[in-house]
Symmetry: C2
Subunit: 386 residues, 2 copies
């Protein structure tokens, strides 16, 4: 650690810890990189706002202040609609009890909020609601790209067509939506390229089934950060939803979706103790500040609860958060490391790169913004909850 490094982070000593830091230079570069990539491939970006949950971040990530964008909760839909976003997909399967709230968001803000479903049962409820309320909701049929979670089997023509025909009775079928969630366990580029192509083929197959049945399918929406990063051909796809790419994290670095130097999010923490005989440095960022996410535990490099960096964001060699209690982080060298443990007296500050930006972000209610290596003074609020 050099003094120059500390000098680059003016103001970080004055914040209350633990807290979230967001490097807006990295954020902007990550967004520009993804946008350029998708421009080359001829598809539009509908950024998923579930990672950042911040209107300030959304305005950097979206093509325009009105969207398009993707959300994971109706609370996000309300928050972003209030902030001027008008083109939204709520990309979690709809429950009938939530339709009144979807309708209210559409009416109150004039938002084009679309919903997602994968069963005739849901389609019947949505169509009935649309007839009853005179609001034919735009709907995307969720299609299962890879057995990861939800969605209709893309070869199940009977179900796809039955859903489409049911929706014709009171909703507006807008297309198909897929999420290649299994790409998160892949790590080598050929496998990721293949996963992206499989997602595309599933999408095109489902869209063809609907169109062959005379049903509309203007939107063919795919998305996951790894497949968005590795897709070589997106012909036939109209939009890509991806979210974590804009911030990045150690899990995505482990997949190869970003470099560690691209990660825009870190948790500022203060040293509160030592157990020198054990080689432990104790900090005030425990799992409450970092989240319980241990996603890198199943990757080739286990990053513990995160990588410890100096105030300029440079990792200390082999120093990770080896364990965490609620409000205590236990920093130690990686097992077997021969690196020198840095001398960090009580009161020293450092930054932790997180395993999972979505999970770590959710433990906080604001971002302290860094640009040009300095705290700008801007504080960007973020939301949580449903």
């Amino acid at each position: 650690m050099t003094d120059a490094g500390i000098g680059q982070a003016d103001g970080l000593d004055d914040l209350e810890t633990p807290c979230l830091l967001l490097d807006s230079d990295r954020l902007t570069a990550n967004v520009a990189g993804m946008r350029a990539r998708l421009d080359r491939l001829g598809v539009s970006l509908r950024p998923h706002l579930k990672t950042a949950k911040s209107l300030d971040v959304a305005r950097i990530a979206m093509a325009s202040p009105s969207g398009p964008a993707t959300v994971s909760t109706l609370r996000e839909a309300e928050y972003f609609a209030e902030g001027g976003v008008r083109d939204l997909i709520y990309a979690v399967g709809i429950a009938p009890q939530k339709l009144y709230r979807v309708g209210a968001i559409r009416r109150r803000w004039g938002a084009d909020l679309a919903i997602v479903l994968d069963s005739v049962e849901q389609a019947e409820a949505v169509a009935a609601w649309g007839r009853g309320h005179g609001d034919p909701l735009p709907v995307l049929i969720e299609v299962d790209a890879d057995g990861h979670r939800s969605g209709v089997d893309p070869r199940d023509a009977d179900t796809l067509v039955a859903i489409g025909r049911t929706l014709a009775e009171g909703a507006s079928l807008r297309g198909v939506l897929l999420h290649a969630g299994d790409s998160y366990v892949l790590t080598d580029p050929p496998a990721l390229i293949a996963a992206a192509e499989a997602e595309r083929q599933a999408a095109l197959g489902a869209a063809a089934i609907l169109r062959d049945a005379g049903l509309p399918c203007p939107v063919v929406s795919v998305g996951s950060t790894p497949t968005a990063r590795y897709a070589e051909d997106l012909d036939g796809i109209t939009e890509v939803r991806a979210g974590v790419f804009m911030i990045g994290d150690l899990f995505q670095a482990g997949v190869g979706s970003c470099g560690i130097d691209d990660i825009a999010l870190s948790v500022l923490t203060t040293v509160i103790g030592h157990q020198r005989d054990k080689g432990w440095i104790i900090t005030d960022a425990g799992w409450m500040a970092l989240s319980r996410d241990r996603g890198t535990a199943r990757q080739a490099i286990d990053q513990g609860y995160g990588i410890a960096c100096d105030l300029a964001g440079r990792p200390y060699p082999d120093l990770i958060v080896r364990d965490a209690n609620q409000e205590h982080g236990i920093l130690a060298l990686r097992p077997g490391s021969s690196a020198a443990r840095p001398d960090l007296p009580i009161g020293s500050r450092l930054r932790i790169l997180p395993n999972h930006a979505c999970a770590t972000g959710a433990q906080h209610d604001r971002y302290h913004v860094i640009a040009d290596g300095r705290l700008t003074g801007a504080v960007w609020p973020r939301i949580n909850g449903w």
Copy 2:
């Protein structure tokens, strides 16, 4: 599932999901049980409020509206002081940068807020601050009960006495504080009884060292839910800090600190889909609502992300949250189970018992209160952050 079960949970169909439910009958019984146990052992209870983070819960858990109580963040200290709590320990090692805020809480609310430290370095900063501000802060020296985290080795007389003498120059030494965190990995009663006795012996040893050196040690504070539940002798201990006991969770049930029927917290969720060929039921409570805590993964019974129950809180046989994405829970039977999967159509509601009450609670900002098996209509706010 019987209709009687559903009838016992009036109102649960009207809440937005996912959300937190708190059974105030179980909460009250858990508190009464711990209080009776500690009364028999002749020590007072200083409940840790880091699990509930709610003034309404605190008022049930504390001996009086003014405390005593324990907190894990200065944000909690401020919130509870504002709510009338006057006797508080902030039980995480102090950083010098936080002393101004400790002083502010003491002045603004007249709160007796004590702090914790385990080094001469911290003691010097605290004493200097006390001299500079005319406020000799009450301090407990953290003693390491079992190598779990922070604290001075209880046999390290030199350090204990050096800290005590340093504090005499501008602070007020109040005693010693221990947390037998390693008790969380134990499961059989004899080992837990032994851990509690080891915690007591370490406490008494450290207190004796201070007293033999002519230093004050009026408070001898120990605490963890497992050792509080199993201690057979607390002679010489003045108070017990424990927190999760009042709510309970599947991890504590795995340790034997509570029964599954004692767990007061659950997450209400709605079925949003099925993958019937895989035996999956998809709900709207993913890890964002349940937390990423997988603490039971290392116990004899892995509960996944939680146990699925009907609206009356009765577990469905062998039905657990097998996997979770951000806003999706994937329910399935335990591996190898021959139980019948319940028929839960889209829109059905169920309750998930969490692995870890502290972590799951932190994902939410309020509790919906259940008493006598019915939603009372009361909503108890809870805080997060630092």
